[in-house]
């Protein structure tokens, strides 16, 4: 029955009833009564008109809805009556719910994302394991796709799976990468990320094209014309969404290729957090390859583990069966193949996992951070609830008279609870709405910040969706019920009589006791939670400070760094050195540049190189790991790394290195050829390679560890004897100088023994020391590089301090978020204490008035009010510190140079909280002191 029906039927009720009484009156008059008598009799006979009308309405009532509307009206009226209370509650909730929703939005997009492919629940990723951890790989590359076991596999295995595994898999595909590629043919040369995919990749995962056609098996056949598919986002940014892009020719390093399609906009990558700019067929690896890969063949070689294999399960086939098939084929290839990598005893096996779990990618790095954040927001939410519950509790105590009155006129306890719950749910809904708005802003802020750390877009697609909305809705309602329930239940138990008499100090002492205990417990909980969060935040701030103020061993101020990759441009050693020389001269002549150099890796960029060396006189096969760094002329002076003894590099050192490298390489090739030709049993012996050792600079740490602090100048360091050059012993290194220690890849890593080598053939980073704001020099830098060589794309252009910020990005992110939560919890605790105390003072106004009338001084009153706060806060501090000591242990991995139980931090936080508590009591205490005894006594 709709509300409209009901309205129609009830509209004439009153006139009908009046009519009824009228007729009866007429009848009575007809029977001879006087008009008044007749009317009176008629009315008596009819009964109570109001009640009849109410009963009739009741027939139509959809009771719960009526009550709900009534409750809502009531709640709104209540909120309007105390706007300050409502504002504080809604804001508190908005902060709590907003923070939770923001973090959950990000967690959702990172952890719970749906893979943008068709039918992902039948898509499996292959990984392998064996007792032999390091078989004789010809090459092994992984690109961070798999979080757990090794999922790099050789191409021949992938092909065998495709042809022999069709009883278990309807389709099998492989991919690898992305690798940086010099992309030309579309404006100035740029560096683009290309992923190798097998011909049936798009078919297997079921992703359609936005434009053109997908790569097909024909594109992957040997000798097929090179074809690529663009990523949608790259097409939009680099090609300005040009619809005529299909059919255009471009150059990848020095191979020309044709664009045949643009992938669907929803597909970014199978592995979360990874992006590429384009897809190219696996077969292109023969011409377009990573500079880091040795010259080995990668398509036929069963020892080159470099592709990720995925397969679509045949309908009705169990994973166990598919796994058995995959393992059998793997054993065939690796044990019984032409070049066995394993024996039966190594027990090589293949595992299959669903791509959703198997391809974790970046998730593995971000997840722990997100879980820390989620725990923090969880605690914040608890504080929010405790806080709001405290406020509602205080308010409901003030409303006891109202509740008692309502019970006295017949409202059932259920009705009262429901009404209070309606009020709290209304408040939490308002808070939730505001919170959602806040979270939209929060998500933008966080992803923006994260993206700045990646120097790129946020690697995950973040968008609010139904899961997030459901989450917020659930949080909102649970919060509303949680903070509404306790006070509501208390109100419903009100004893009508004493509450109406309202002499709280005398008649309901027991009840005050109860209320105070709950209120106190809430404040203790808040203080304790705040301590935990604030101590955690404090430790992180200390860590960041420690890392920031750390001396990395070189001067990080006023520096521009950027990468160029002449190797990808196809340059040989001589050309590279020539280009570097030209660039160095041009930069040095640029106004504002103090000095300039270059190196293989940039310091503090997160990446580093290393090698094993064999010290003269050490036992055979005992090698030492050292960090290595290839550098150009003037590197030490540009970076301001002190030269402790010996000399820096001179031009002759670079020529020597180039000659030695060439000799080593040709000896290697000759040796390998000789081994191939000779009988397997022959034991070939070559004399040591005739070339000068490579001049190196070593750091102080290396001198301490390998030369027992003796002067190493002129000493020789041998190459690792683990995998000797088949063409004879390599000349090794000659120490020409000792330099100060520097941090290498990042700030946390300990300084290791390190060797600086002359840079002759490498991808490299330029370092420019400037006399002015380094960022202002960046446009000039780009111009100079473009004018010297149009084929050299720049990458990772930034100042050294940006570089440091980037390397500290995770710390900065966590610290910022934790700091925000720290401040938030302190503010919330402040609200909580304030609410409790104001209530306390209001409740005791009469008592305070009497005391003042009897001569109590302001100080006595102050003591009276504040003593209680001190006790509560002290308990909260004790509980919080104990909890913090227990919990911060789990953060020790995140900290640097500060212990998880750092007394300084804990003391500082405790002091801060005490100050906050004092601020919170200031207003109520002042009100207490300024109580006018007369007013106070009349209060009731």
């Amino acid at each position: 029955m709709s509300r409209r029906d009901r309205k129609r039927h009830l509209s004439d009720l009153e006139s009908d009833i009046q009519n009824h009484i009228e007729i009866e009156t007429q009848d009575n008059i007809a029977r001879g009564m006087s008009p008044e008598e007749a009317r009176y009799a008629a009315m008596r006979k009819f009964g109570n008109v109001t009640r009849v009308m109410e009963d009739t309405r009741e027939v139509w009532a959809i009771t719960w809805l009526d009550h709900l509307i009534q409750d809502l009206r009531f709640a709104l009226r209540g909120i309007r009556k105390s706007p300050l209370f409502a504002t504080v509650v809604v804001l508190t909730l908005a902060l709590g719910i907003g923070a939770n929703t923001a973090i959950f939005t990000i967690i959702d997009s990172v952890m719970l994302r749906a893979i943008p492919v068709s039918d992902p629940q039948h898509l499996l990723v292959f990984s392998w394991q064996s007792h032999k951890e390091n078989p004789d790989f010809i090459g092994h590359s992984s690109f961070g796709d798999c979080t757990g076991p090794d999922c790099s596999l050789p191409v021949p295995y992938f092909r065998a799976m495709r042809t022999q595994g069709s009883d278990s898999f309807s389709k099998v595909a492989a991919f690898s990468g992305p690798i940086p590629v010099n992309f030309t043919g579309n404006g100035p040369a740029s560096r683009a990320q290309g992923t190798y995919v097998s011909g049936d990749f798009f078919l297997t995962i079921g992703v359609s094209m936005f434009l053109g056609r997908p790569l097909g098996p024909a594109d992957d056949a040997p000798g097929a014309p090179a074809a690529i598919v663009l990523d949608y986002a790259y097409w939009r940014s680099a090609f300005a969404s040009d619809p005529t892009v299909v059919g255009r020719a471009v150059r990848l390093n020095d191979t020309s290729a044709m664009i045949v399609g643009v992938a669907d906009s929803r597909f970014t990558n199978l592995t979360p957090g990874k992006f590429q700019d384009f897809y190219m067929p696996l077969s292109l690896v023969t011409s377009v390859r990573s500079q880091w890969w040795s010259s080995g063949e990668r398509l036929m070689n069963p020892g080159a583990f470099w592709v990720v294999v995925i397969g679509r399960l045949q309908p009705g086939v169990s994973i166990a069966h598919a796994r058995a098939t995959a393992t059998t084929i793997f054993r065939n290839e690796t044990i019984h193949g032409a070049k066995p990598l394993f024996t039966e005893a190594d027990d090589p096996t293949v595992n299959l996992t669903y791509v959703q779990q198997g391809l974790g990618g970046e998730t593995a790095q971000i997840a722990p951070m997100l879980y820390v954040m989620m725990s923090a927001v969880g605690i914040v939410m608890l504080i929010t609830c405790a806080n709001v519950a405290g406020l509602v509790l205080a308010r409901s105590a003030r409303r006891q008279k109202e509740m008692a009155l309502r019970m006295a006129i017949g409202a059932g306890p259920g009705r009262i609870v429901r009404q209070l719950l309606t009020e709290s749910i209304l408040l939490s809904t308002l808070g939730g709405l505001l919170g959602v708005l806040l979270s939209l802003w929060g998500v933008r802020a966080i992803t923006h910040f994260v993206a700045s750390g990646y120097n790129d877009t946020f690697p995950f697609v973040v968008e609010p969706n139904w899961r997030v909305l459901a989450f917020t809705l659930a949080v909102t309602f649970v919060t509303g019920i949680l903070f509404g329930l306790a006070p509501a239940r208390r109100s419903a138990r009100v004893d009508v009589n004493p509450a109406l008499k309202e002499n709280p100090s005398a008649s309901s002492k027991a009840m005050i006791g109860k209320r105070l205990r709950l209120g106190d417990a809430l404040v203790v909980a808040q203080v304790a939670f705040s301590i935990v969060i604030a101590v955690g935040a404090g430790l992180l701030v200390r860590t960041l400070e420690n890392l920031r103020s750390l001396d990395p061993g070189f001067n990080t101020e006023n520096m521009v760094i950027f990468g160029v990759n002449p190797v990808l441009a196809g340059y040989d050693s001589a050309k590279i050195m020539q280009v570097c020389g030209t660039l160095q001269q041009r930069f040095a002549a640029t106004p504002g540049v103090v000095s300039v150099s270059y190196s293989g890796d940039a310091l503090l960029s997160g990446s580093r190189s290393g090698t094993d060396v064999h010290l003269d006189g050490a036992t055979p096969q005992k090698n030492e790991a050292v960090d290595t760094m290839a550098i150009g002329l003037d590197f030490l002076s540009t970076m301001k790394i002190p030269l402790l003894s010996g000399r820096a590099f001179v031009s002759q050192d670079f020529a020597t290195t180039a000659t030695t490298d060439a000799a080593v390489k040709s000896a290697h090739d000759a040796g390998e050829a000789a081994v191939k030709k000779a009988a397997p049993s022959a034991h070939l012996q070559f004399p040591p390679i005739k070339a000068a050792p490579i001049p190196v600079l070593v750091n102080r740490k290396l001198v301490q560890e390998f030369f027992a602090n003796h002067n190493p100048i002129g000493k020789h360091i041998g190459v690792s004897d683990y995998n000797p050059n088949p063409g004879g012993l390599e000349p090794g290194y000659l120490v020409v100088g000792v330099v100060g220690d520097t941090k290498y890849s990042d700030l946390r890593r300990e300084v290791k023994p390190a060797m600086y080598l002359p840079l002759t053939n490498n991808s490299l980073h330029f370092e420019l020391r400037t006399a002015m704001n380094p960022a202002s020099l960046i446009p000039a830098v780009r111009e100079i590089v473009a004018s010297v060589d149009r084929n050299l794309p720049l990458f990772e252009v930034m100042t050294q301090s940006e570089q440091v910020d980037r390397i500290l990005f995770q710390e900065r992110l966590i610290t910022r978020v934790a700091g925000f939560f720290g401040v938030l919890t302190l503010v919330l605790a402040c609200f909580g204490l304030y609410g409790l105390l104001s209530y306390e003072v209001a409740w005791r106004t009469r008592e305070l008035g009497i005391r003042m009338a009897l001569g109590a001084q302001s100080r006595d009153i102050l003591n009276l009010v504040i003593n209680q706060v001190i006790v509560i806060v002290a308990i909260g501090l004790a509980v919080g510190i104990a909890a913090a000591l227990g919990l911060t242990r789990f953060m020790s991995d995140m900290l640097y140079n500060v212990r998880p139980n750092d007394p300084g931090t804990i003391a500082a936080v405790a002091a801060l909280l005490a100050v906050v508590a004092l601020i919170a009591c200031y207003l109520p205490a002042r009100r207490a002191i300024h109580t006018d005894p007369i007013v106070a006594l009349r209060h009731e």
Partner: protein, 118 residues
Amino acid sequence: MSTKDELDRIEMLQGTLDLLILRTLVLGPAHGHAIAKAIEFRSDEVLQVEQGSLYPALHRLIKRKWISAAEGTSENNRRAKFYSLTAKGRAQLDLETRKWDKFAGAIARILRPAKQEK
């Protein structure tokens, strides 16, 4: 609290009153006052209805679609609601009447021997 007992009593009365209203409307549409008068008259004035209680009962019957209401003009020339029996109401009346007969018969059978014993 006595709420529960009261409810039971109201319900007893309701059932009976509903039956009487349905029976009255068999004769044709009538407005509220006429129905009340008819019940009083036909029961030889034994059943004194508190006339007000008629209205909730009428609305309950409308809600159940046993009767319908239409605008009309009463004898004192005022607009009034005239209630008439629906097909569904007629069927319900038959059912209720049979039930009532059964009930009254049973009560009577129990009460009569008791009278004889006296």
